[in-house]
Symmetry: C2
Subunit: 114 residues, 2 copies
Amino acid sequence: MALTPVEAVACCLPLNREPLSQEAAERIVPMLKALADPVRLRLLSLVASHEGGEACVCDLNDAFELSQPTISHHLKVLHGAGLLEREKRGVWVYYRSSPSAMSSLAALISDTTT
Amino acid sequence: MALTPVEAVACCLPLNREPLSQEAAERIVPMLKALADPVRLRLLSLVASHEGGEACVCDLNDAFELSQPTISHHLKVLHGAGLLEREKRGVWVYYRSSPSAMSSLAALISDTTT
DNA sequence: CATAGCCATCGACACCTGTCAATATCGACG
DNA sequence: CGTCGATATTGACAGGTGTCGATGGCTATG
């Protein structure tokens, strides 16, 4: 136990290789839930496509017509799922995308029959 | 408009190439929402890993300790998201996985910086 | 036509989730 | 130390979602 979501995904075979166990599914789902919201998907894309793969919260707030607590909440969900890393520098907080998390997820979903 | 979820995903650049627009995000999210449930993730894995990439509903019902309407509901969600195709053969209904949908999603998520 | 079996739909309920306003925390700077 | 600005947390609320029992539609078979 105490596996991070990313670790839970990284050790799984692709979906079409063998039936996923209930335990594995429940460990993986938090990452997919984190992605399954339009605001969070855009936040992740904003950070991942930003210069250096990181972005300041202040910039992210300005990109949406949503309250600051709402953006903070979504960033927390993405961070909790292991999709974003967090670093505080002075007064500002920077979020950085996690390529390993993304590629693990992609490997889980990707087709392996070809 | 009237794009299927799969078409909406297939024409998108990877998340880390450029910020996702709100419209694109909202079109993609239904597929991710469909995946973001442990029962549906296992259902998809069961079908995708099954011989021939298809499985009968009767087999899927037996794999879970859930009511038949609940499984039917989850299959409908996966079908609506374009992740499963549906075919009725006589009394039985078969669901088949959609490799193109899966690989489109994987391409969206996968890292392209390496 | 009657029955039986497979699957879908409906209606109801408890629970989860996205959002906001208000407030707290924390670091920088006079 | 007091203030200000950047983020996070809390509490509350509306709407969404997973589950079930009951029921309906369809198809094969007597």
